[in-house]
Symmetry: C2
Subunit: 319 residues, 2 copies
């Protein structure tokens, strides 16, 4: 099944089920009025979700007015960097030494706001190097400290598609301190639909979203990297995060920028990677970062359903 | 005035005013039932807070049953590292090169849970290098992106005292990746009282808490470093955090471990610092990290009021 959150003027919005064609929605209401409430008691809310689905399929519901992110705010957002090709290219882009580690890479990011799929995204300055990062992510229920990767798989309730906005003029400066990113990582955006793993069928394998992430920047094709090349599956990222803390219900865990070894064929999911490839091939980067007015579109493509997560399509504007 | 949160079985607890002697409390109720609600509408809640204070001083209220952290969970926790002496000693402790930057150091930490002042703190393994970090922190109302340091001062509504639990066997491994800390930084603890800046009088100067932080480990004096030596004031840390994001109401910003150049006289606010000092003086560290059963006590000392934030006193236990 697919869930979405409708903008009703409250911070957490109203949770709704989504029709097979993505054209109609129906609010679920109590005991699952919001996605955060459902994550806190998945089993307790499931009957209401399924009942709403039955009513939606029987003809209730309507075209949505405006989607928020599936979870417009969460208590926790932990973003991995699980694609080796992305890591290698970013070290070139940032002019830093390779990271030597056999552990998953992960940072804690801003979780109090996730932009909806069609929201304008405002920044103070183009000079900060505005970049997108196309990712997949998972939402877990409460995960106890010390949970194994095998057990973590059962806590992955929903899968989402994310644009992790990044400011590249600041990122390497913050990274060099070892403290991770604060200024370089403002709020992310999310595609409208959160989907259960079974909804993806064979495209959810080994804790990986084996789908192409199709990205268009100002209407031009930019990338279609596939999510299958994660060095660690999402279940391993969840276990890594839960090694020394209980994960609060509704924690969102990101894959990091989707990236493939065959980047020459499939392109990239962020501008920095393309710039790194230009540096490798031509010794200097010619692609500039985003300007105010630019538009970004991201959608995963599936053989069985065109766009399982719906579509991010939004514009960068001056604050 | 001083505020506290009482354990009423809900995730955010019940907000209360605290008597001058810290012995009695009175719940505030609507429109400020929780601290997070008050931070979202400080001006709208202030009359109710002041009315509760009047009733408390007139004899209403009772001895508290159990304190939570002033804000048991927040949408955002950003911890600085504003004491130069701490930074220098930690690079020695971690065996890393000095961080070369003229910017404030800051990372995003886990915000979905802050332990109360007397909660037992459970960890999976002593091998992870369990350490405390005594800090001060501030809680802000909503801070718009791009707010200056001067304007940020007005957004600092409350000051708190924090123990930032840290796992030292993991910290340098995570730090070397540049991604900041996830496993090395589990949930923090907080002293019971959040105080308004005016409550500290002359001890709140230049956006700094100019008080000694007295720390006892297993009943033995460990440190009494003063908060005045921050290289950046809290208003500058707030402005740094708000450079590229709106800060959500209730964001907590930490000072990092309180540390003084005169560490030989005043001691330290974490074990790692003492170990670094031992390395400098005797070429190897003899003080071990914490064991299960250890007790830590932290209290700021003021000339006008013994313990403005109350006291953290808690035990480390096996998970």
């Amino acid at each position: 099944m697919r869930l979405a959150t409708l903008d009703n003027g409250t911070p957490d919005g109203a949770l709704a089920v989504v029709s097979g064609d993505g054209e109609r929605v129906l609010e679920i209401g109590a005991p699952a009025p919001t996605l955060i409430a459902l994550m806190e008691d998945w089993d307790g809310g499931l009957a209401a979700v399924q009942s709403a689905l039955v009513r939606l399929e029987a003809g209730e519901g309507a075209a949505p007015d405006k989607f928020c992110a599936p979870m417009p705010r969460s208590w926790q957002w932990l973003d991995g960097s699980a694609f080796d090709t992305h890591g290698k290219l970013m070290q070139i882009a940032f002019g830093l030494d390779p990271i030597e580690t056999d552990r998953p890479l992960m940072y804690q990011g801003m979780s109090d706001r996730f932009y909806g799929p069609t929201d304008d995204i405002s920044f103070i300055s183009e000079e900060d190097g505005i970049d997108f990062e196309g990712e997949f992510g998972v939402i877990v229920d409460a995960v106890p400290m010390g949970t194994s990767a095998t057990d973590a798989l059962r806590h992955i309730r929903l899968i989402v598609q994310i644009n992790d906005w990044s400011l590249r003029a600041i990122a390497p400066i913050e990274m060099k301190t070892g403290f991770g990113w604060v200024q370089a990582k403002p709020a992310c955006s999310a595609a409208p639909f959160a989907v259960t793993p079974d909804e993806l069928g064979e495209d959810w394998r080994d804790g990986r979203v084996c789908l192409d992430l199709n990205i268009r920047w100002n209407g031009e094709q930019f990338g279609k990297a596939n999510g299958r090349e994660m060095a660690f599956g999402f279940h391993e990222l969840v276990a890594h995060a839960a090694r020394t803390r209980d994960l609060v219900a509704g924690t969102i865990i990101g894959s990091g920028t989707v990236s493939n070894a065959a980047y020459a064929e499939v392109g990239s999911s962020c501008i920095s990677e393309r710039r790194a490839i230009e540096m490798i091939e031509r010794e200097n980067a010619s692609t500039m970062f985003m300007s105010f007015g630019d538009e970004i579109e991201m959608r995963a493509l599936s053989a069985t359903r065109d766009e399982p997560f719906g579509r991010i399509r939004q514009r960068v504007v001056a604050r």
